[in-house]
């Protein structure tokens, strides 16, 4: 007998990456409609990925930006 929650957990990463087959997507979606426990965990993962991206984003310093600009080939005639 298949434990659908275990199966759904296995499918989560590839599901969110969009790399599952159509049949597997249908399988996961069917279970997610029935199981709010798994649905919450999918939603959390989606939000977590976004949060990680934002949390580790550190802007470049103005000094570095200026140094990079100075590397440009001078526009002389």
């Amino acid at each position: 007998m298949i434990d659908w929650c275990d199966k759904c957990e296995e499918l989560m990463q590839p599901y969110l990456d969009g790399t599952l087959s159509d049949a597997e997507v249908a399988q996961a979606q069917h279970h997610l409609e029935l199981c709010s426990w798994c649905a919450k965990r999918y939603h959390f993962e989606e939000r977590l990925r976004h949060y990680v991206r934002v949390a580790v984003s550190e802007p470049m310093s103005a000094e570095l930006k200026a140094r990079l600009s100075a590397l440009r080939t001078p526009l002389d005639a």
């Binding site: 990680v52 991206r53 990079l68 440009r72």
Partner: protein, 197 residues
């Protein structure tokens, strides 16, 4: 006459090349924020990231003719950056991965741990997410072994495709996917450890 004709053509060609070069440099500079954001998480410190980005742009501007117009410039820059990073000896410094990584916990592990800490039953996902501070995420990512971290940084943070990440890291796509998969689990395991102690 025989002298002036080729000179005019030469001048035109040089002028075109100069324009193409300026365009290339402008386009590359427009991407510098994104390049830095990725670089910052590939290496351990801000100083290293800044050095690496500067060297990347120096090399890119020197070898701009090797870039094929119409292809992904951001991926091309990151490829240079990754190679420079390897040249800096990062790969040699790496201690062989001897300790088995405990990633058997599965993908629901972090959520289950965080949820268990909240007093109310069946809390909202947003409340669960709020348990994670920005610092804990930065630290947890830094603690992911770099082969796995590279994949996360390029795909999840830099938003590169698997194919671009494979090209940048010079590894097969399948390897990118397996490192990403495993890396995300390690990251979540680290987050769970950071928060729950």
């Amino acid at each position: 006459m025989s002298e002036s004709a080729p000179t005019a053509a030469d001048t035109r060609r040089l002028a075109e090349e100069a324009r193409a070069r300026v365009r290339f440099e402008e386009e590359a500079l427009d991407l510098s924020d994104q390049v830095y954001r990725v670089a910052r998480r590939l290496v351990g410190s801000r100083e290293e990231a800044e050095d690496l980005v500067q060297q990347t742009y120096e090399r890119a501007f020197r070898s701009w003719k090797q870039f094929t117009p119409g292809t992904n410039l951001r991926a091309w820059l990151l490829r240079i950056l990754t190679n420079l990073n390897i040249d800096r000896g990062r790969r040699q410094q790496r201690a062989p991965q001897t300790t088995p990584l405990d990633t058997e916990a599965g993908d629901y592990f972090l959520y289950n741990k965080l949820e268990a800490q909240l007093p109310d039953e069946n809390p909202d996902e947003e409340r669960v997410l709020e348990r994670l501070s920005q610092d804990s995420i930065v630290d947890a990512l830094a603690d992911v072994p770099h082969d796995f971290r590279d994949a996360i940084v390029l795909v999840d943070i830099g938003e590169f495709s698997y194919a671009d990440a494979a090209q940048i890291l010079d590894i097969p796509i399948g390897t990118v996917m397996s490192r990403l998969h495993r890396g995300r689990r390690i990251l979540k395991k680290n987050l769970a450890d950071e928060v729950i102690t």
